[in-house]
């Protein structure tokens, strides 16, 4: 975790002044955007290759482990890792930190790619909602979303082994919708509300969203 750097955002107002940071270090430390988000924004806004390399170091080994869990051999898994990481670079403009943590965004790219590889037909995807560059970034929303991600992590860790395994299987694509119980035991309501606030932010800018 590092303090959020103003220079990577497209917004204008500095939110964390150095003075405030000194005054209450603990409180400000909790108000940090994750490293991954900082790297991803540097990739999105500045096409920063060093930041991309950091994302690779963090995600590539996890991605390979995740893909191999679905039964793909290591060599094929690395091909998907490569496709996913290149997509992260090429479609960076679609990343919106007000609605998604980097891991969530990469998760979806990965599943989409795996399914496109396994099946012949293209995966149907919703219309993209791309954050207009004119929109000022809202750090409190980004931080709140990060915090919801933490809550989810804790909630997952607190599940019984059976429940946690069921959740993992569901998101690894090993369960049909009939098999996915609506009761995963995860408190999804709060993160849904938070993401909807992130969508609300776009609503005024984008037509046809309701």
């Amino acid at each position: 975790m590092i303090a959020y750097e103003q220079n990577i955002t497209r917004g204008k107002k500095p939110t964390f002044g150095a003075r405030r940071y000194e005054r209450n270090l603990v409180e400000e430390t909790q108000k940090e955007v994750s490293d991954e988000t900082v790297w991803m924004l540097a990739v999105r806004d500045k096409r920063d290759k060093a930041a991309f390399a950091n994302l690779f170091d963090h995600f590539a080994p996890r991605l390979k482990g995740f893909i191999m869990k679905t039964g793909m051999p290591g060599e094929q898994a690395e091909e998907i890792v490569q496709d996913v990481m290149l997509t992260v670079w090429r479609k960076a403009a679609q990343f919106d930190p007000h609605r998604a943590q980097v891991s969530a965004w990469i998760y979806q790219i990965t599943r989409n790619r795996q399914i496109d590889v396994i099946r012949k037909n293209n995966r149907p995807l919703p219309e993209e909602l791309i954050e207009p560059p004119s929109l000022e970034c809202d750090i409190s929303q980004m931080l709140a979303l990060d915090q919801e991600g933490q809550h989810l992590r804790q909630a997952l860790a607190q599940l019984s082994d059976d429940q946690r395994l069921a959740v993992e299987k569901a998101y690894l694509g090993e369960l049909t919708h009939q098999e996915i119980s609506e009761q995963t035991g995860l408190p999804l309501g709060t993160i849904k509300s938070r993401i909807r606030l992130g969508l609300e932010r776009l609503r005024l800018e984008l037509k046809g969203l309701r």
Binding site: R62, K64, F66, R90, I115, R123, G173, R196
Partner: protein, 211 residues
């Protein structure tokens, strides 16, 4: 704009995020999410859970040259995949399925028309056109059916369904939706089993009409 009242169930959104929904259902879900911020929020929440699972996965060692190979590809030109935006009443995923063309309606009788977009072992996907006041031919379901309203509205004994609403039919539901007065009702309907019409089209002709 009317409010969307009938949404996609959570288990289906989770399966959609994970990629396990049959293709016809996935197209309906992608279309609904394109129209519904509520379900887009839920879908993105499922991505967040997927992200937590991904982040917690045991790591696997990456081959030595993968990173440098990817870094050298960053500046290579690439052609982005075609993007299908909404066109008229049709959301992007439907436009993509239609390959950007208008639907090719086939008459079913009584003013009802359909365009079968796909039909295979995974189920079928079709557009239906139902004139105001006209009943959708009565049918019961041997599988699951998802119907997304794109224009107009219909009502059955379970309620009214307007633009953006999704009706979920299961084998227990026997219903006769009737298109409400106003614009003809156009909807996108997916099933994971062949429909069985009780009237209008005798079973005998089913293979002919690919219903």
């Amino acid at each position: 704009m009317t409010k969307i009242n009938h949404h996609i169930p959570d288990s289906m959104l989770a399966a959609y995020a994970a990629g396990t929904l049959p293709q016809p259902f996935a197209i309906v879900v992608a279309s609904h999410i394109s129209m519904c911020a509520h379900c887009r929020g839920s879908y993105e929440a499922h991505q967040a859970v997927g992200g937590v699972v991904l982040d917690g996965t045991e790591i696997a060692k990456i081959s030595g040259d993968l990173k440098s190979s990817i870094l050298t590809q960053l500046d290579e030109p690439f052609t982005p995949a075609a993007v299908y935006d909404r066109s008229g009443i049709y959301p992007g995923p439907v436009v993509k399925t239609l390959k950007g063309n208008e639907p090719r309606w086939k008459t079913l009788g009584m003013g009802v028309r359909q365009d079968i977009l796909s039909a295979d072992s995974e189920g079928s996907l079709r557009l239906l056109y139902i004139p105001a006041g006209q009943a959708v031919p009565e049918h019961s379901h041997s599988g699951l059916e998802l119907t997304l309203i794109l224009q107009g509205s219909f009502s059955d004994h379970t309620g009214q369904f307007g633009i953006g609403d999704v009706e979920i039919g299961d084998p227990d539901l026997e219903h006769t939706p009737i298109a409400d007065p106003g614009d003809p009702c156009i909807c996108l309907a997916a099933t994971d089993a062949p429909l069985r019409f009780k009237s209008l089209v005798p079973r005998l002709f089913q293979p002919l009409f690919r219903i």
